[in-house]
Symmetry: C2
Subunit: 208 residues, 2 copies
């Protein structure tokens, strides 16, 4: 996994689109500097998820921005996505790697330093999501936040790429990067912005 | 698809297990004559669904009873199931065939004679679920029932294997078979029975 491609990591959430088309919002954000997109659809049925994935993949292709699918390996395979992002209750990493092949990107969210310790040398994981760094309104079922100190300790434990997830915005992005994050995962800060392109541009400025 | 293997088609529903282990209930039903099992888990997360699929596959193997996964091609691939059963909002049949390969069993639920007409010559479908034949408490989001007359018309439209789904029990199984069903799909009539093995044995008696 190219570390720089994790830089500004957009996680979609159609709840923040407020009637706007999800793909159009994402493309605007990509024009503002988003480097990778994770399509996250916890409510959509499979048919709709695959259809949306195909539209997203086609829309991102001209920008060379990879598409990652949250959890669903079948959707990733059907729409030709670049990989999946997994949590601890999603498909097991080894199963996903077997089904997706060696070239797919596989990200894994760790919710504690103990989980990172257990997974940090696993060759099937391309990057780790450190989740959540801060508490967030987007997900309510999360573990206690790492905080900046937890993120620093995570970065000290491994040289593997780390994406900071949860509550990242322009107010804390500089500190999060300084604490050792290779990527900033954003949801509401971009998806919910009136101008997603401008929001992405501002966040992009905090990256190394 | 071997028509006789569709004979007594058990669709799981953990809500009817009442504290009993799902796999044990299914194995009892297989001892009573169930010929094929569809694992349907609309609420479980992916990790749990795959784990349950693996346990189910291992439990069914000694009986030579195929395991079909509802909707989730990724779960089917991960647990080595024999195929998937799809509805109109699940993955598209052509996508599922591409991902699962030529040997997998793919069933498709049709909810009207018009849908059957549109799909009856599709080479990727191994059997059709005629759904629902009767109204059922198991699924509440279904189309208007085919009824026995609708099932007869469906059977007259195609020589492809048909599985009757929805409200099938010992009180109507004989008529359903007479109307042209190759398979009887049952959920509550077996999963909810105090003695799943005996319930399956009774239903089995109505098959040709």
């Amino acid at each position: 996994m190219n570390r720089s491609s994790l830089g500004l990591y957009l996680v979609t959430d159609s709840r923040f689109c407020a009637g706007r088309d999800l793909v159009e919002v994402v493309v605007e954000a990509v024009r503002g500097g988003v480097t990778i997109v994770q399509l996250r659809e916890k409510e959509a049925d499979t048919r709709r998820f695959v259809g949306l994935g195909r539209r997203m993949k086609a829309a991102l292709a001209p920008y060379g921005v990879p598409l990652i699918i949250n959890d669903r390996v079948d959707v990733a395979l059907a729409c030709g996505a670049d990989g999946v992002h997994l949590g601890m209750s999603d498909m097991a990493v080894a199963d996903a790697r077997r089904l997706l092949g060696p070239d797919a990107v596989i990200g894994l969210s760790v919710e504690s330093l103990g989980q990172l310790e257990a997974w940090k040398d696993n060759g099937d994981v391309d990057y780790f999501g450190v989740s959540p760094v801060f508490s967030t309104p987007t997900k309510t079922d999360t573990a206690p936040p790492f905080g900046l100190e937890g993120l620093r300790r995570a970065a000290a434990m491994t040289s593997r790429p780390l994406v900071a997830i949860g509550g990242i915005n322009v107010g804390n992005a500089a500190e999060v990067v300084a604490a050792g994050a290779d990527g900033l995962a954003v949801v509401s800060a971009v998806m919910g912005a009136e101008n997603p392109r401008a929001a992405a541009e501002r966040l992009k400025g905090f990256l190394k």
